[in-house]
């Protein structure tokens, strides 16, 4: 280390600081690798999960020099994996690297053979390459790692593998060539299913859904989703994604009620840090709720950090709420760029008839009797025969239960019915029940989600039992001894 500092001083004083952080990062990486080792030997997946989490925290601090130093530390220099991985790293920071490798080589331990460590190195290099925007190298590196993974069947690798799958797909997405890896992902999914790697299945299913939805292949996505095995979610993040994709598919297939549930759940379950994801969820959820005839509350659009992104949807909601076709059209045109890039344009086209419905409902609430010609004027229906159009539109709205009215054909007017007292029906009872059930379910799920270290409960009991047993034995021995005394 002294060697290191001296060199920096000669070059530039500011570099010494960066080299200090570099060496501390390296130190952290070494700690992580030892965590993986203990995890691998003890077969404790939990430790490896923790290692991956710690790596994500170091992500910003990674430099080429640090990564390559770590590679030489973790893998045998000259081994196949080492040379392959090093070839992906940029060589422009040569001077920095020399020193670090020198120091680490000196203390390089001989525990190369561990496959977990090798896969971890792949993951590290891949993350580094993606962060450095070297997407083509990232693609090559991820493909190599997938080849290596296919020949490995260890449960402790699964966690690392699922992360690798994710970055594999991500690197292809960044270079816009997702279609190419669909076959590989499918075969990986099959492999994960055969090996009962549930985390891998979960991740790969999501990647496949993402892959299909990227090309708007909703049909294939739904077919895969409905046939893929489902089980209790292992990772919250993956589950959120799954819900989001599910919500999207259901929206397209007009199952709005289910779609709304999935999308809102996804938005709620997503971690606070995942702002982009939550914005997407909210956008879709807003549209689905509008399609259902609901008006989302203002607070949805005022959430922290989302206000700007949700503005187009806010104005859209406003147009639907007022039931003004003209305003709706201007909003749709004004933000057509946003809607096209969000790929919600077709959904917004569907909204048109909701705008008419809302307008009609407003009219029916305000007037007990109104002529169809006035309805057509208020809805701004522009066609050759607005009255006939208005009549059939009102008729359909009545059939679908959107308005409670009758048409008087002879006089050409719409007659609203008196609204009944909702509290005289079972409606409030049902609503109350559904809320109670929701709360109870939430409580139960929260209890189930509590985590306990495995078997700690059992061990404690057996320890107690052992003590008890020993005590009993002692008493028995004493008793026998006393009896013995008595006899004599």
């Amino acid at each position: 280390m002294t060697n290191d500092v001296e060199m920096k001083e000669v070059q530039a004083p500011s570099n010494s600081l960066s080299s200090a952080t570099a060496s501390s990062t390296l130190q952290h990486l070494k700690e992580i690798s030892s965590l993986i080792e203990t995890g691998a030997y003890a077969k404790e997946v939990r430790r490896i999960v923790r290692a991956v989490r710690l790596t994500m925290m170091l992500r910003r601090k990674l430099r080429a020099a640090v990564v390559s130093a770590f590679l030489s530390y973790a893998l045998a220099p000259g081994s196949e994996a080492h040379s392959r991985l090093s070839s992906f790293l940029p060589k422009d920071e040569e001077h920095d690297m020399d020193v670090d490798t020198a120091t680490s080589a000196a203390q390089g331990p001989a525990k190369y053979s561990l496959p977990e460590l090798e896969i971890y190195c792949y993951l590290l290099v891949l993350i580094f390459l993606i962060d450095q925007k070297r997407y083509n190298e990232a693609k090559a590196c991820s493909s190599a790692s997938i080849v290596r993974l296919k020949n490995m069947n260890r449960r402790t690798v699964d966690v690392l593998a699922s992360r690798l799958y994710f970055y594999y797909s991500y690197s292809y997405e960044l270079t816009d060539s997702l279609a190419k890896i669909r076959g590989t992902l499918l075969s990986l999914h099959r492999m994960a299913t055969l090996r009962h790697d549930e985390l891998g299945q979960e991740t790969l299913l999501n990647l496949l859904l993402r892959n299909y939805l990227h090309y708007n292949l909703y049909d294939q996505a739904e077919k895969l989703r409905s046939k893929a095995p489902r089980f209790e979610a292992h990772s919250n993040q993956q589950f959120c994604r799954y819900l989001f994709y599910l919500g999207k598919i259901r929206t397209i297939q007009l199952e709005y009620t289910d779609a709304k549930e999935s999308l809102l759940q996804a938005a709620r379950k997503a971690p606070v840090a995942a702002r982009g994801f939550r914005i997407q969820c909210n956008k879709w959820a807003v549209i689905v709720r509008l399609l259902l005839g609901e008006i989302p509350e203002r607070t949805v659009f005022m959430q922290k950090g989302m206000k700007k992104a949700l503005t187009p949807y806010f104005e859209l909601t406003n147009a639907v709420r007022i039931g003004d076709l003209e305003l709706f059209r201007t909003v749709a045109e004004k933000f057509s760029g946003t809607f096209n890039s969000d790929r919600t344009h077709n959904l917004i086209v569907r909204l048109r008839h909701n705008v008419i419905r809302t307008g009609l409902r407003n009219i029916s609430i305000s007037y007990s009797r109104i002529s169809l010609a006035d309805v057509a004027r208020k809805l701004r229906l522009d066609s050759q025969n607005p009255v006939a159009d208005a009549e059939s539109i009102v008729a359909k709205a009545i059939r679908d239960g959107a308005v409670d009215a009758m048409i008087d054909h002879a006089n050409g007017c719409m007659v609203s019915k008196e609204t009944g007292d909702v509290y005289s029906t079972n409606e409030p009872q049902i609503a109350f029940n559904s809320r109670i059930v929701f709360c109870l379910n939430m409580h139960n799920e929260a209890v189930r989600a509590l985590r306990f270290p495995p078997n700690s409960h059992k061990e404690k009991e057996s320890a107690e039992k052992r003590r008890e047993r020993q005590q009993q034995e002692q008493e028995l021995a004493k008793h026998i001894a006393e009896e013995d005394d008595d006899e004599f």
């Binding site: 397209i252 297939q253 007009l254 199952e255 086209v349 059939s392 359909k396 005289s424």
Partner: protein, 267 residues
């Protein structure tokens, strides 16, 4: 040239000749022979092998299936349409970059959208629609189908019917006729709910019948619940939901018990 390809080309030539003569019997025969021959081409979906003849093979296969789809419309066979369309679809989605797009692509996709609309398969309609790029929505054939769906959802049935006059392609007429029937059923369903009664003349106009005879036949066949008297059609009203008089006790007991059980678990 590859002998198989020559054979297919010749057979397809005869098919096209019969097609122009409107000799549909011969067409169907030739088509089944052609389909068997096509199975021998290795470059076709799903294998997509890179063969030297790939471009010609794919082009002719796509052409054959396009004709097959149009033929199924002319013979008014919806099942055959669906089958042929699904065979054709991979050529549109997965061969970009190998062969240039077909000029028939959008008319046929629009036709398929129309078919889904006629069969009231709205979810599939939207799934198909999502596959199209935004630019495709400007195409008159696609636009026609999309606007129809919109008017259909809104309930502006007049617009649906007048759209028959502005069909972008002659093959669309068949489905538009079918759509008129679907629309009539929809109107009947709506009228039932929206009106107490209609005079026979109004009912005739709304349901698009030219004579009283047709109207009464339709009513006896499709809606036996309706009643014709005093020159008016009376619709049977479905019973309105009554305000509940009695307490649904059994359900309430069940719910309360389940709350008690859940609470017990919490406390």
């Amino acid at each position: 040239m590859d002998p198989q390809l020559t054979e297919v080309t010749q057979l397809f030539g005869r098919f096209k000749a019969a097609f122009i003569r409107n000799d549909f019997g011969t067409c169907t025969n030739l088509l089944s022979q052609l389909k068997v021959l096509l199975t021998k081409f290795p470059s076709l979906p799903p294998s997509f092998q890179q063969t030297p003849n790939a471009v010609e093979e794919l082009t002719i296969a796509r052409d054959i299936y396009e004709h097959a789809v149009v033929l199924s419309v002319k013979t008014e066979d919806q099942d055959a349409f669906e089958r042929d369309f699904f065979q054709l679809k991979p050529y549109y989605t997965d061969t970009c970059g190998i062969i240039p797009p077909s000029p028939q692509e959008y008319p046929i996709l629009g036709l398929n959208l129309l078919r889904l609309l006629v069969q009231n398969r709205i979810a599939e309609f939207h799934t198909e629609l999502e596959l199209l790029p935004p630019s495709a929505l400007e195409n008159p054939c696609i636009k026609h189908a999309v606007e129809l769906e919109q008017s259909f959802m809104e309930g502006a049935y007049n617009r649906v019917l007048s759209a028959r006059l502005t069909v972008p392609h002659e093959t669309y007429v068949y489905f538009m006729d079918l759509l008129a029937k679907t629309v009539r059923d929809e109107i009947a369903g709506c009228s039932e709910k929206a009106y107490d009664y209609l005079s026979i003349n109004d009912a005739k106009k709304i349901l698009m019948f030219s004579s009283d005879q047709e109207l009464s036949e339709y009513i006896t066949e499709e809606h036996p619940g309706w009643e014709i008297k005093d020159g008016c059609v009376f619709f049977q009203k479905a019973k309105e939901s009554q305000p509940c008089k009695e307490i649904p006790s059994l359900q309430l007991i069940n719910q309360t018990l389940s709350y008690a059980r859940e609470l017990e678990r919490i406390v």
